[in-house]
C-alpha cells in the first residue's frame, strides 16, 4: 500500500487555491517551523459567503493536501458553514490520512478557524451568536 491515498497525492501534486489574497478579509496562520508545518489561509468574504480562499503551506505532502482540500470544502460556502469544518471532514474528503499525519488535518481546521476569527475581528458587525 502506498503511503498516501490517490486523493492526497492528487491534492499534493496539484494543490487547489494556492496563493495569496492581497486585500484579504481574514488571514489565519497556524503551526510553526519547529514542528515542520505552517499553514496560512487567506479569505475573501462577501455577503456572508466565502467568495475566495487561498493558502500557503510549509510542510509535508499531507499538510499541502489538507490545506488544499480544506480550501475546496469552504469555497463558496456561507461563513456559518465554514466555521463548522472539522479535521475529520478534511481527512475523510482525502480518503483518509495515516494516523501520524492526522495533525495536518487539524492544522487545516485551525487555520481556517483562525482566518474566520480574524475576519470577525475586522468586521465585528458580522459576528452572530
Amino acid at each position: 500500500m502506498a503511503l498516501y491515498s490517490e486523493k492526497v497525492m492528487d491534492h499534493f501534486r496539484n494543490p487547489r487555491n494556492v496563493g495569496v489574497i492581497e486585500d484579504a478579509d481574514g488571514v489565519g496562520e497556524v503551526g510553526n517551523a519547529k514542528c515542520g508545518d505552517i499553514m496560512k489561509i487567506y479569505l475573501k468574504i462577501e455577503n456572508g459567503i466565502v467568495e475566495d480562499v487561498k493558502f500557503e503551506t510549509f510542510g509535508c505532502a499531507s499538510a499541502v493536501a489538507s490545506s488544499s482540500m480544506a480550501t475546496e470544502l469552504i469555497k463558496g460556502k456561507p461563513v456559518s458553514e465554514a466555521l463548522k469544518l472539522t479535521n475529520q471532514a478534511v481527512a475523510e474528503a482525502l480518503d483518509g490520512l495515516p494516523a501520524y499525519k492526522m495533525h495536518c488535518s487539524v492544522l487545516a481546521e485551525e487555520a481556517i478557524r483562525n482566518a474566520l476569527e480574524d475576519y470577525y475581528k475586522k468586521h465585528p458587525e458580522e459576528k452572530k451568536d
Binding site: F12, G19, A33, E56, F58, G59, A61, S62, V64
Partner: protein, 395 residues
C-alpha cells in the same frame, strides 16, 4: 529517467552476490549444523565466507560473528562491552551525538539500567574530535563507540586516532562501520578498534545479514539464546545463502574501492557545487572528509518530505532528515547536532550516489532539485517571511 540516489539507505544486490547465493537456496540447502554431507557442504560455504570476509578487513575468521544486520551487531557490541565493564564496576560509556539510533537507543537503554553515558558534541562539519573523546574518558569508562562514517552527512571520523587513545587508556573501542565497510579502505588492525559492525545490504549484499568483528579476547554476550551457532554467541540457524552472498558482495566492493572513489568523488563534488548555487542552501557535513557517495543539503523555507515525493515523481529516489519522513515530530538528530535549527533541518535532502552514477544524472539532479525547491518555496509562508524580511535567513 530513474535515478536511485539512496544508496546509503540500501543498495541493489550485485550480480556476483546473487549468483553466489543461488546454489545455497536451491541445492545446498542443508543446515550447517547437520552432520550429513548436505549439511556439511552448507557449513563449508559458511566457513569459506567467514574466511574471505575476515581477510577483506584484516581480521581472523574466528573474530567474525554473523548477525541479522548492522543494528544487531551494534547492539551486541555495546551490550558485550558494558557487560565486561560491569564486572569491574565500570559503568560509563563515551559516544557522540550523531551516532545511528542502533547505538544511541542501546545507550539510552543502558542509562535506564544505571550506566552513565557521555555524548561528546561534534563540530559544525560533523566531526568527532579525538581530544573531546579523550577528555570524556573517565577511570570508570568501559566503552567508547564512534562510527566510522556518518550515514546522513557522510562525515568520516578520525577513528584510528580515537582508537589509539582508547588503547592507551585501556578502554574498549567499538566502531559502527556500516557506511564504511566496502566503501572506504579499512583494516581492523590499523583502526586500533576492538569491535566493528557491518551490514551487507550497504555494499550490494542481501538485507538481513551483518557481522560483528570482535578482536580475539573480547568476550561477547549472546543476545539470542537457543543454540551453539556462532561459537555459542548467536543462536539460530545461520543465513547461509545470505552470508555467502555477503562475502561475494564484499569481495567485489573492496576490490573496487579505489576505482569507485576516484570515479565518484568528482561526481559528488559536481553535485555539491551545482546544488550550492540554489539560493539559501547549504551543504551538511564536511566537504572533504566525506564518503565519496554522500551529498546532503538543507534548503531554507521548504519541508523535506514534500521535496522527496516531488523528486520521486521526477524519477529521483532520495531521502530526507525531515520529521515527516521519520514518523516523529523532530527532524534528524544529526542535523540538529551540527547546529541546524529545527526549521532548516526539516528541509534537508540526502542524495547518496551509486557506483554507476553518471555526469548526466548528476546534472539532471541539480536541475530537478533546483526546480522543485523553487516550486515549493513559491507557496511556502516561511519563504515569504524570509523574502519579505519578516524573518532572517539562516543559510
Amino acid at each position: 529517467m530513474f535515478i536511485y540516489a539512496d544508496n546509503a539507505a540500501t543498495t541493489k544486490m550485485s550480480r556476483a552476490a546473487i549468483e553466489a547465493m543461488t546454489p545455497y537456496l536451491t541445492e545446498v540447502y542443508g543446515n550447517p549444523s547437520s552432520l550429513y554431507a548436505l549439511g556439511q557442504r552448507a557449513k563449508d560455504g559458511l566457513e569459506d565466507a567467514r574466511e574471505r570476509i575476515a581477510r577483506l578487513i584484516g581480521a581472523e575468521p574466528r573474530e567474525i560473528l554473523f548477525t541479522s544486520g548492522g543494528s544487531e551487531a551494534d547492539n551486541q557490541a555495546i551490550l558485550s562491552a558494558t557487560a565486561i565493564g560491569a564486572k569491574t564496576g565500570r559503568r560509563h560509556i563515551v559516544s557522540d551525538t550523531i551516532e545511528h539510533h542502533a547505538v544511541l537507543h542501546t545507550l539510552k537503554k543502558l542509562e535506564r539500567e544505571g550506566f552513565e553515558v557521555t555524548l561528546v558534541p561534534v563540530t559544525p562539519e560533523g566531526l568527532v574530535e579525538p581530544e573531546a573523546v579523550e577528555q570524556a574518558i573517565r577511570p570508570d569508562t568501559c566503552l567508547v563507540t564512534v562510527m566510522t562514517a556518518n550515514n546522513e552527512i557522510g562525515t568520516i571520523q578520525p577513528v584510528e586516532r580515537i582508537g589509539e587513545i582508547c588503547r592507551a587508556r585501556g578502554v574498549l573501542f567499538h566502531t559502527d562501520a556500516v557506511q564504511a565497510v566496502g566503501h572506504l579502505p579499512l583494516d581492523v588492525r590499523k583502526l586500533n578498534a576492538d569491535m566493528l559492525s557491518a551490514s551487507a545490504h550497504k555494499f550490494h549484499g542481501p538485507k538481513g545479514v551483518g557481522f560483528l568483528w570482535a578482536r580475539r579476547g573480547v568476550a561477547l554476550t549472546s543476545l539470542i539464546e537457543g543454540g551453539a551457532q556462532e561459537r555459542g554467541k548467536r543462536a539460530g540457524t545461520e543465513n547461509v545463502a545470505g552470508i555467502v552472498a555477503t562475502a561475494a558482495a564484499l569481495e567485489e566492493a573492496v576490490e573496487g574501492i579505489d576505482a569507485v572513489t576516484k570515479r565518484l568523488t568528482p561526481l559528488r563534488d559536481r553535485l555539491i557545487a551545482g546544488l550550492s548555487k540554489i539560493p539559501h542552501a547549504a551543504l551538511n557535513g564536511d566537504p572533504v572528509r566525506r564518503a565519496p557517495s554522500n551529498v546532503n543539503f538543507c534548503f531554507e523555507g521548504i519541508e523535506g518530505e514534500a521535496l522527496l515525493l516531488l523528486l520521486d515523481d521526477r524519477g529521483i529516489a532520495a531521502s530526507s532528515g525531515s520529521a515527516c519522513t521519520s514518523g516523529s515530530l523532530d527532524p534528524s538528530h544529526v542535523l540538529l547536532a551540527i547546529g541546524r535549527p529545527h526549521g532548516v533541518a526539516h528541509g534537508s535532502l540526502r542524495l547518496s550516489l551509486g557506483e554507476d552514477a553518471t555526469e548526466e544524472q548528476v546534472d539532471y539532479m541539480i536541475r530537478t532539485v533546483g526546480e522543485v525547491v523553487a516550486y515549493l518555496r513559491g507557496f511556502s509562508p516561511v519563504w515569504r517571511d524570509l523574502v519579505e524580511g519578516k524573518a532572517e535567513f539562516v543559510l
